[in-house]
């Protein structure tokens, strides 16, 4: 039986994933790990299947909130990153402030949002946004700073305005950096949303997890974590697809190898 290399690759990856969960299951059984600490994947799967109809609306809420926060965060990140990447003053002032702010656990900030905006979706979107800005800023600024001046010269000689150069050289050149930061930002967005939901909310995976942990229902907590992870992977896959469309030029290695 012969398989195409592609199919083999896929099977292998799937196999490795399954292997990972199998290992987890067996390790838990072998070391007798209490399900209060680390439930087995099979227990988690059970909960997921049994309670899916209950969990679903929460998952949707979290996904929606995260997505909104992510999009806002990325937009803000690009704007700030471009600012930092193109003005020395902005760099000197904004970077320390941003680094400082980002070194602060967002748990400390969420209460401010909650007290100002009340429990619910707004603080969650805000947290999700705020937490995902920094990686985007850093990568966009770095990408812009490391753009080859030769590429910019192509436009500069035409008398292009700064904005033209940014738009036609800086940003396209920075796309690989941007997409790398999106992967990071997506995961942080989820963390931010759940964080805010944990602090004050009636809906969302964060709430589910808090209630479950209050009930000592650890498998349910992990079911929540699983859903989060799955949604994270889903959003990542989407952004990965877009990335492949838009930055193929930067990854022509495979193209060469095919030749």
């Amino acid at each position: 039986m012969t398989l195409s290399p592609r199919t083999r690759q896929r099977l292998l990856s799937a196999g490795a994933l399954v292997g990972f969960f199998l290992l987890w299951e067996l390790a838990c059984l072998a070391f007798g790990v209490s399900d209060l600490i680390l439930p087995r994947p099979s227990q988690i799967a059970n909960v997921l299947i049994d309670k899916m109809s209950l969990l679903w609306p929460h998952a949707v809420q979290t996904l929606y909130t995260t997505f909104a926060g992510f999009v806002l965060g990325v937009l803000a990140g690009i704007v700030i990153g471009v600012g930092i990447g193109s003005s020395r003053l902005a760099y000197d002032v904004t970077y320390p402030l941003l680094v400082g702010f980002s070194s602060i656990p967002k748990v400390a900030v969420v209460p401010l949002f909650v007290v100002w905006f009340g429990a619910g979706t707004v603080p969650a979107i805000l947290t999700s946004m705020v937490i995902s800005i920094f990686p985007v800023v850093v990568n966009v600024a770095t990408g812009l700073a490391s753009t080859e001046p030769e590429l910019e010269d192509v436009l500069r000689v035409l008398g292009a305005r700064k904005r033209d150069i940014l738009w036609n050289v800086g940003l396209p050149r920075t796309l690989p950096y941007l997409f790398a930061s999106l992967k990071i930002a997506i995961t942080l967005s989820f963390v931010g949303t759940v964080l805010a939901e944990t602090v004050a909310s009636n809906k969302g995976i964060g709430t589910v997890m808090m209630i479950a942990s209050g009930n000592f229902d650890v498998p349910m907590v992990f079911a929540g974590l699983f859903l989060l992870a799955a949604m994270g992977v889903a959003l990542y896959a989407v952004s990965s697809l877009v990335e492949q469309r838009m930055t193929g030029w930067a990854q022509r290695k495979t193209d060469m190898a095919m030749a």
């Binding site: 030769e150 590429l151 010269d153 192509v154 436009l155 500069r156 000689v157 035409l158 008398g159 292009a160 033209d164 036609n168 050289v169 396209p172 050149r173 796309l175 930055t247 030029w249 930067a250 022509r252």
Partner: protein
């Protein structure tokens, strides 16, 4: 000091690393002239082109292009206060190393000037799939790249890239054309074809052209004047008028006067290389005065 269309007046250029590429360099080019710049490798030819294009700022002296001072010496980056009010020249520059933006197709790369430079810019949205595309395709076909518009830069050979880069320099009908060894990576035949294209274009539209080349036949074939540069720091050692009638043809390039001119230039550069950095500025100016003319 002169006051030509393009004027470098006693220019010094020190690069970040400390290298002094040009020193006391003076060069004037009249509007509509076709000037070739020849000289030993590393003498500062590309540097002169970048100065004229406004990509570099002289460390001392002044560079004027089209009546407008290009980055006065010592002005801060972005400080446009010193710049005169004359409108910016429409420049076409073919870099020595054909830098194409890797995320664009060859067609889109060639189209860049139409996207940026007025008056093309204002119609870009409307015409990029129509008129402008046709214009680019026609140019590409002329240099033998028909059908390569959809390729990416790394899918072209070195010579093909160089030709695409030439198209990009020409596409927006520039008033000032700066060409840095534009035919260096081409075989003799492709090269000679492109000479004719260049000559026709110059005779039709009369842009001011500054051509850097190592091919003395090329300089004699195309230019009205040939400036010979010294070794680094580069100064203009000598300027030769080239009086051959136009249009020049390949046959005319086998004429004895042509061969004589090329041979004389060769000798001059040999001298320049031998003197190298040692030549003091005064001596250089003296030599530059002893112009010889070759009549057609």
């Amino acid at each position: 000091m002169g006051n030509a269309y393009i004027q470098l007046s006693d220019v010094m250029l020190r690069y970040g690393g400390g290298t002094i590429a040009l020193d006391h360099t003076t060069l004037g080019i009249d509007e509509g002239d076709f000037v070739a710049l020849v000289g030993p490798s590393g003498c500062g030819k590309s540097t002169i082109l970048k100065l004229v294009a406004g990509l570099l700022r002289p460390s001392a002296g002044a560079v004027i292009a089209g009546g407008r001072e290009v980055g006065a010496a010592g002005t801060l980056p972005g400080g446009g206060a010193h710049a005169s009010q004359a409108p910016r020249l429409r420049i076409g520059l073919a870099f020595q190393n054909p830098t194409m933006l890797p995320w664009l197709t060859i067609r889109d790369n060639v189209m860049i000037p139409l996207k940026i430079v007025e008056p093309f810019r204002q119609h870009f949205g409307k015409k990029k799939h129509g008129d402008y595309k046709d214009r680019v395709e026609a140019l590409l076909a002329q240099v033998g790249l028909k059908g390569f518009g959809d390729k990416r830069p790394w899918q072209l050979s070195g010579g093909m890239l160089q030709r695409a880069s030439l198209c990009r320099a020409l596409v927006h009908d520039p008033e000032l054309l700066l060409l840095d060894e534009p035919f260096g990576a081409l075989d003799q035949f492709t090269r000679e074809e492109l000479w004719d294209i260049m000559q026709t274009l110059w005779m039709d539209r009369r842009p001011t052209v500054l051509l850097v080349t190592h091919d003395l036949r090329e300089s004699a074939y195309l230019a009205n004047r040939i400036c010979v540069m010294s070794s680094r720091p580069g100064r203009i050692l000598e300027t030769r008028e080239v009086g051959f009638a136009r249009p020049r043809t390949l046959e005319s390039s086998y004429a004895p006067e042509f061969a004589t001119l090329v041979q004389q230039l060769r000798m001059r550069i040999a001298d320049a290389r031998r003197d190298g950095d040692a030549t003091p500025p005064a001596a250089a100016t003296a030599t530059a005065a002893s112009l010889e003319e070759v009549a057609a």
